[in-house]
């Protein structure tokens, strides 16, 4: 995986795109493809279908580009397009995120309760054993290929609503407001979904790193 620069001057990029600048279009594709794929995969069954969704989405982006007013960020606008197309596609395949139930449901402790001292113990609610010190591990391990593979899989396993929120926030770098608007979530629900998603990914990373 390459590390691509975040697009800072979206307005400038849009101008160049309207002017037919192919290099600008390549930059756009390279910068946003991964995040678009991840969002699409929160709504449809397979990667192959997700790629088809992206194909349609890019066409819709091009068709809408002349009318794009910049009221939302380009990135958020593109993500909305992906979601709309993916939803339609997902509905046809009888697999959607039911939008009324995007709201987080039930209880989901971030860490198993057994890892904390109980009511009858001294210091109830505190760790029995401390979590491992990940700062002692070389950065190449935490951000290396194998670990990122574990993270990718953990995200793929997330419930759909958690997956799309963590994708938009922590992969795509959208703001909380942008996510709430795009997904029609309250601030509180967005925070709960993000918290649960991050907790699950951390737990997956922990299982992997502790086994190493």
């Amino acid at each position: 995986m390459s590390s691509v620069a975040v697009i800072r001057d979206e307005a400038g990029l849009v101008e160049r795109l309207r002017g037919g600048d192919e290099a600008a279009f390549e930059t756009l594709v390279e910068s946003y493809y991964g995040m678009m794929l991840s969002v699409a995969q929160s709504y449809v069954k397979t990667r192959a279908v997700a790629e088809e969704v992206l194909q349609d989405a890019w066409l819709a982006v091009l068709q809408g580009l002349d009318r794009f007013e910049g009221r939302s960020s380009l990135k958020t606008w593109i993500i909305s397009i992906v979601i709309n197309i993916a939803k339609t596609r997902g509905a046809r395949e009888a697999r959607t995120v039911p939008f009324s139930s995007m709201a987080p449901e039930g209880e989901e402790p971030a860490v198993e309760p057994e890892r904390f001292r109980g009511a009858g113990d001294g210091f109830p609610g505190h760790w029995w054993a401390y979590p491992a010190n990940w700062s002692e591990r070389p950065e190449e391990v935490i951000l290396g290929r194998e670990t990122l593979g574990v993270v990718t899989e953990a995200i793929e396993q997330l419930p759909d609503a958690q997956r799309v929120v963590i994708t938009m926030r922590d992969i795509a770098g959208c703001s909380a407001e942008e996510v709430c608007e795009t997904l029609e979530l309250t601030e509180g629900n967005q925070r709960v979904l993000l918290h649960r998603a991050r907790s699950r990914v951390r737990a997956a990373l922990e299982r992997h790193l502790d086994a190493a």
Partner: protein, 83 residues
């Protein structure tokens, strides 16, 4: 919460970490949260793990676009500009 707690437990801390990093905790909750982190090495390590998790997730941002896909999209772009 009905009133400001004097302290919170580790079990409560792990439920608040994401909100703390978002700066979404109310002032009095953030105060007990930081106070807890000041004396509890275990939770300081946990918060560090969550930060590193977020960093790792952030690294997933760029996936290489398959050449064939890029070529197809470029064609679509040219068609659009011509049309």
């Amino acid at each position: 919460m009905p009133h400001s707690p004097l302290h919170i437990t580790c079990q409560e801390v792990v439920e608040l970490v994401s909100d703390y990093l978002e700066q979404a905790l109310p002032a009095d909750e953030a105060a007990v949260f930081e106070q807890h982190l000041n004396f509890c090495d275990g939770c300081a390590l946990y918060v560090d793990q969550v930060r590193k998790t977020i960093d790792a997730v952030g690294e997933l941002r760029a996936e290489d676009v398959p050449e064939e896909t890029k070529a197809r999209l470029l064609t679509a772009f040219r068609d659009w500009r011509r049309g």
